[in-house]
């Protein structure tokens, strides 16, 4: 943490000026956040300069990589990048790394683990580029105001505190006081002005609609029945769901139970959508702890609802933070591309070994929530999601409690307490192997095509333990 510096906050109009003011070649570790998601203009603008100046040996620390961050692919192909450390990536960059690897290695972290690593210096950041929709002359910033507002800036906060050089990038510089800034100006070195830092339409991820697919509807219903039977839906409970269509349907089903039984939740955390906002405004939940906004309604809610609070990645999930929100999380609903007999879950690669994601908050929340439920169809495009061993471990099996599919529910044998509670249930509970057999009965056993010859990266859990490797496909 810097003491109050005598250095004055510089306002610059082009990235060239930064290159003039700083020794870029001595500051190779650079970071970005992904709160503008697929509508981000900052990353491409900044990295284009790195491409043009042929800067070598870059180590990139983006909190996530979305398909339109095309300059990253160019830098990789130009061999200008050594290592990438991130929590989630998909699109062409992910595809390319899956087939070619990097000059260095790809390190996958978790949202909470990244915050921790930045604070402890394990992720040492030279320059943090922080897209900020609303900035004042002091360098204070929030993400939920301004023409290109994107909501919570949670993942950027550790960068703003611990990077050596901090650059806010904005298209909305104001001469106003900002109350409760997410980013504090005393930490900032530069404000870089751009015409437009992003396109708001690109913020909305493709998966934030409630599913109406009959299989998804059934999975969601059985999940809410399971949670109710386990006695988890009661006054003051806390809940988090991923942004997938089935997870959102679970949220909807739980809402109905809450309305019928007059239950109010204490908080919802994680990625916030309009569905969560509706429940806040209908007084079904006390607080929303927002580390990321998934749609435009959530962004506007941040600005107007006082119980909708932006939180930093550290406050959300860092193991170092004794006040982290997820330590009080009762239920988390998550997805999976694969799950194995030991309940290890994969959300990093698909069945063809292509990188399609990463933990994000998956491993963090699964580690701390009282009950972790994976919701998924049993079979996707003829591929059973249950395998003997997942292609990539994103979240360790000991942290996964239940799998709910359209053909049955499996409970982790480690959770003898849950198994006991469900002794007389009408729900269809099977062992994970029995569920796998049902799948194979329809699909036949797929050939295992996982290649494990060349390591291209590693999966680092929030404990810093390397729980798996990434291999070239």
């Amino acid at each position: 943490m810097k003491e109050k510096s005598l250095k004055k906050l510089k306002i610059i109009k082009t990235i060239d000026e930064l290159f003039e003011n700083e020794e870029i070649t001595l500051n190779k570790n650079i970071s970005f956040h992904h709160h503008l998601r697929n509508g981000d203009y900052v990353i491409n603008y900044v990295l284009q300069k790195y491409i043009d100046e042929e800067v070598q040996n870059i180590n990139l620390f983006p909190s996530a990589i979305f398909p339109n961050y095309k300059t990253i692919l160019t830098l990789i192909k130009n061999r200008q990048i050594n290592n990438i450390t991130t929590n989630y990536l998909n699109g062409d960059v992910a595809k390319y790394i899956s087939t070619h690897g990097l000059k260095g290695k790809l390190k996958m972290q978790t949202h909470g683990g990244r915050a921790r690593a930045i604070k402890e210096g394990k992720n040492y950041l030279d320059i943090a580029f922080i897209a900020a929709p609303y900035v004042n002359l002091k360098g204070d910033a929030v993400g939920y105001l301004g023409k290109t507002r994107c909501g919570s800036l949670g993942y950027a906060i550790p960068d703003s505190l611990y990077a050596k050089i901090k650059v806010l990038v904005t298209d909305n510089l104001v001469d106003e006081v900002i109350n409760n800034p997410e980013i504090k100006g005393e930490n900032i070195d530069y404000i870089l002005l751009m015409d437009k830092i992003g396109d708001r339409a690109g913020i909305v991820s493709g998966t934030t609609q409630i599913t109406t697919n009959p299989l998804g509807v059934k999975i969601a219903r059985n999940t809410s029945l399971l949670l109710a039977e386990l006695g988890l839906i009661k006054n003051g409970f806390s809940f988090q769901s991923g942004a997938g269509g089935i997870s959102l349907r679970v949220t909807k089903d739980i809402k109905e139970i809450m309305i019928n039984k007059k239950i109010k939740a204490s908080f919802f955390s994680g990625g916030i959508t309009k569905y969560h906002v509706e429940m806040l405004e209908e007084n079904l939940v006390e607080k929303l702890y927002d580390v990321q906004c998934f749609d435009l309604e959530a962004i506007d809610s941040l600005a107007k609802n006082k119980n909708h609070l932006p939180i930093s990645a550290s406050k959300y999930a860092s193991p170092l933070n004794s006040e982290r929100v997820i330590k009080d999380l009762d239920i988390v609903i998550l997805g999976a591309t694969e799950i194995d007999y030991d309940f290890n879950v994969n959300v990093t690669t698909d069945s063809h070994q292509t990188i399609i994601g990463g933990s994000g908050g998956h491993s963090d929340t699964a580690s701390e929530a009282k009950v972790t439920v994976i919701v998924s169809p049993l079979i996707k495009g003829r591929i059973p999601i249950i395998k003997k061993r997942v292609t990539t471990i994103t979240t360790l099996g000991k942290n996964i409690d239940c799998l709910v599919t359209e053909r049955g529910i499996a409970i982790n044998p480690l959770r003898k307490d849950l198994i006991k509670q469900l002794k007389n249930t009408n729900l269809k509970i099977l062992s994970i192997k029995e569920l796998a057999e049902i799948a194979y009965h329809f699909t036949n056993i797929p050939k295992d095509i996982t290649k494990r010859d060349k390591i291209i990266g590693e999966v680092e859990d929030r404990t810093y333990e390397i729980i798996d490797y990434l291999y070239q496909k």
Partner: protein, 85 residues
Amino acid sequence: MKVSAGSLESSDCLITLSPSKELKITIESSVFDQFGDQIHEVILETLKANNLFEIAVVCLDKGALDYTIKARMETAIKRMRENNE
């Protein structure tokens, strides 16, 4: 003369048969790596059961299960035989 059965909808496959000097099976599938061999086996078994060897089979697969591949093959064969009458 080509004959087809099935569709390109999810979980289905499109089988196209045409006369050929020798047996030829071509498979295009979203799950070729995991199930290519299995799909080949089902097609071959169905041809054998119908005594067909001078035939070219093209299978465009969208994750069809074995029973679907067999059914589409049988329908294509039936249509081919009806055409030849």
